[in-house]
Symmetry: C2
Subunit: 137 residues, 2 copies
Amino acid sequence: MPRKPIQRRSTRQREAIRQVFKDHSRPLLPTEVLKAARRRVPNLGLATVYRTLKRLTEEGWLVGFGLPGQSQTYYERAQGHHHHFYCRECEKLFKVNCVPAHLKDLTPAGFVHEGHELVLYGLCKPCSDGAGAGSTE
Amino acid sequence: MPRKPIQRRSTRQREAIRQVFKDHSRPLLPTEVLKAARRRVPNLGLATVYRTLKRLTEEGWLVGFGLPGQSQTYYERAQGHHHHFYCRECEKLFKVNCVPAHLKDLTPAGFVHEGHELVLYGLCKPCSDGAGAGSTE
DNA sequence: ATAGATGCAAAGGGTTTGCACTTGA
DNA sequence: TCAAGTGCAAACCCTTTGCATCTAT
């Protein structure tokens, strides 16, 4: 039986959430998305944010990822494969280029490599310079 | 003032938990540790497991890490730096060698690299061969 | 009209914490 | 002795889900 493709509607909430990601380049937490999206849809609910993030991720418009040791999931637009540098001082995330070849080489013989997740951590330039947190909003 | 170093006592619970990690080479979840340790200390509590895992990690005897997209934290003995390959089929974790130099090179200029976390994922050999899950207990 | 979407509150899963009791040194 | 450690239950945080209501199409 041909499964009927679920219809997707365009709602104020959904568009507001999409816009938030168009306005921010850095990875966002669900609560950050909620806060930002509420500027357009004041009574937006957190459940809707979660449902929408999940939906947009399934559609491939967003990608979610978690930091080691943190239970929360960050989301950002799915544009180009890259990784992250996490500053333990200001807790911001920075994009880092990927070197697929090297990483793939680590895959044990006979194993099928489908993807990878990498997080570097330490201090970002602003923090290592002794300055306070930078402003990479 | 010289801060008084907190005294560490040797208890049945703590030794039982340590023993669990000596008996298993693969990363374990807190509940798995609980289950295994209860064979020695029947009425061991989950809270004690969490407190002990935290303590042993602070002492450097264990290392904890999380898989992208999973909220749980795995623990294993801190012996030699390495990473993991996660099989999406049988959900087992395999050790993978590390290539520090390459990863460190990804660190943006001016940033201080203190560490990194890498997870490769795909199919392990047994699963890609069409066989059921292997037995890498 | 009607299936998809929303908001709220309740429920879930993992982890932490408060507190009285127990125990190792 | 007595502070460190433990067990239990309640509390927490993040996320999902049930359900009545709302709204694109």
